[in-house]
Symmetry: C2
Subunit: 402 residues, 2 copies
């Protein structure tokens, strides 16, 4: 088997943890597998480097920031190779230049384009464990790029796809994907399996276990993902295309507090006005999620939508700057909201799932602010203070603990 | 003018110093020069990284150690580019991969083979200050190498040679080359100029201002070096091929305390025995310096020689392991010795210089242990406790303060 194993910053934060990760990888190697390890920077090293940069220049060039940040993973991989050597296991570290991890040019948020597997194959053929820097790449100018937060997951999946790995294990500080956040729902249960689409919806909705782009890529190339804990030996959750025939109606409940609701009141009711609003936001790089359009007074329109909480300032700035073009009367903003969603591939063929969710919320006297749905997801916007109550009520209603 | 400026770790140890170096480079840039900056890792970062490595693996692979250490300079150059940007000066950092700094494969002590100047020229043509990682390279396997301690000097000189720079300024914490160590000799005087050969002898003899290989390379390619202080605006010392016609007899006095004397007593007096001894030491990578061979008792030979103090354990190990092959009766070792040397291109045509040096030592009642000479140097081995007295006596005898 060829196994790609990815460990985040927490898993390699100090000597003891590095040794533990080394041992874990060596076990697979000694069972005869080819092992490729992808690492993030140690602990909070990326933040430390960002602080160093900002101390010198509050708005550092993204190119130079990537040059700086990429030292973090290079440090991890070199130390890991040294750790494995103490167990007399041949291991070699490779950075983005050496793997030829080609990306787009967008510093800070580059996308992987192509990986040359020649060097990796060569090292695996010599029965070495190959340890690769996550999160980073090289663009066509030969400059260092980074893939953005959580990018190491994407590196791991891309490597698994390029190498046709049998499995890609993502180690985190949780031991799998749960029916709900165990910190909120005491009875939350770990899922054995989940589909890519469910995982995507969960990732987007802030379950925070896997980086969204990595799941998209895994789906596209059919890479089998396993989400496991680096702290214990639990089996984790397998993410793949098809799950067992008897589907659960709902796989999980997710909550996302990083939401802001913005309303534009009194827009002119003319064709193309919605386009103009979302064009302005798109150009400001703001992702719009739930959208509600309604008729206002005196032949005007109101448009309400949600944006990620950390993009709300950018959204506000863009909307206020373009007030004349858009011609709204009033802009209102609410940061005290949250999204709660149910996700499940079984939903597709089962009408009435949404109604059951609304019933749970109604029984708990929780007001629904906005609703959006996809084939395998129902999301409601509610008051942020009601999130825990809502998630528990829904979890109970669908009997997810069983 | 094209100027290469090299700053060591002390000069970029913190934000304030980085800003100072940035300003200093920008001044040259704003006068219309093309500026290439070579940096070492910040402060003691290289030592910090070595300690991290050794904490995980007391004998880390040299390949992985180089992979780790090279992050140090990459951090410096990225931060420097950010610092320059705060002054609205276009600057770009480049690492060994980006410069295509080709070296031999010897990890930890690689030698530069070839530099592609295309990328650097391209950036200079766009009127950018180009900031390059010192100390590191890439070998033919595409692996990171380092040039050994002081390697950043070599990087700077190699770049100056490859780019046909008009001058190569090496910034250190002293403001030039002195007739003797100012900490030992109060009356020591800064030299305006010195020849490559004199500088080479001084470097080898532990004056410690410039890395030996960098001076050799500067001589080979005719690169004009300037040794200056990063702390003040003094003019420094120019190192070049020819100095003014009227030569000083002696340019300076140097002391080197990193010396151990080893004697092999009672070797068989057969041909090839000296070869065997130095072959054993060569294979253990120990540099032998002064050598004295004498007839011992009963038709045996004694060989006494000096090795660098930090190589004495390696030397001892190799000699003891090969005791049977070498067949000596006794091995004695003295770590309490030091070398004191006078260096001067004017010595060549002036007999009697050595005698004058011995006279100074004799007047101070300092015992000479061993003597070695070259065309422009006389070195004596003395008791380490007498170094300061010896250096002062010699400095006075040759009236170097004038």
């Amino acid at each position: 088997m060829l196994i790609v194993k990815k460990f985040g910053g927490t898993s390699v934060a100090d000597k003891e943890r590095i040794m533990n990760v080394a041992k874990r990888c060596i076990r697979d190697y000694q069972e005869g597998n080819d092992v490729v390890v992808v690492l993030s920077a140690m602990g909070k090293q990326t933040d430390v480097l960002i602080d160093m940069a900002k101390d010198i220049n509050p708005t550092p060039s993204k190119r130079e920031l990537d040059m700086l940040l990429s030292t973090g993973e290079q440090t991890s991989v070199a130390l890991m190779a040294m750790a494995m050597a103490t167990f007399k296991i041949p291991a070699i570290s490779l950075n983005a230049f050496q793997v030829a991890m080609h990306t787009t040019s967008a510093y800070g948020s580059a996308r992987l384009k192509r990986i040359d597997t020649e060097r990796i194959r060569h090292e695996l053929d010599q029965r070495k464990i190959v340890i690769i820097t996550g999160f980073q790449g090289v663009n066509k100018y030969d400059d260092v790029t980074t893939l953005g937060r959580g990018g190491s997951d994407t590196t791991a999946v891309a490597l698994a796809a390029a190498l046709h790995a049998d499995t890609c294990e993502i180690f985190t500080d949780v031991d799998g994907v749960y029916t709900a956040d165990p910190r909120i729902v005491k009875k939350a249960r770990k899922l054995k399996e989940i589909t890519y689409d469910e995982m995507l919806d969960l990732a987007t909705l802030g379950a925070g276990v896997l980086h969204n782009r990595s799941v998209e890529m895994a789906k596209k190339y059919g890479v089998q993902l396993v989400v496991r804990s680096s702290l214990n030996e639990e089996e984790g959750t397998v993410v793949k295309e098809d799950v067992r025939v008897e589907r659960m109606l709902v796989s999980g409940v997710a909550a996302d507090r990083n939401v802001t609701r913005i309303s534009l009141v009194g827009l002119k009711d003319v064709p193309g006005i919605a386009f103009k609003v979302f064009d302005v936001l798109g150009k400001a790089n703001v992702n719009v999620d739930m959208i509600l359009q309604s008729i206002g007074r005196h032949g005007t329109k109101d448009i309400t939508f949600t944006v990620p909480g950390d993009a709300s300032d950018d959204a506000l700035g863009a909307l206020e700057k373009n007030k004349d073009v858009l011609g709204y009367e009033e802009l209102s903003i609410n940061r005290e909201v949250a999204k709660v969603s149910i996700v499940g591939a079984g939903m597709m063929s089962n009408p009435g799932v949404a109604a059951k969710m609304f019933e749970a919320l109604y029984n708990s006297r929780i007001n629904i602010n906005m609703i959006s749905t996809s084939e395998i997801r129902v999301t409601v916007l509610i008051d942020v203070k009601e999130v825990d109550k809502a998630v528990n009520a829904i979890h109970d209603m669908f009997e997810l603990e069983d």
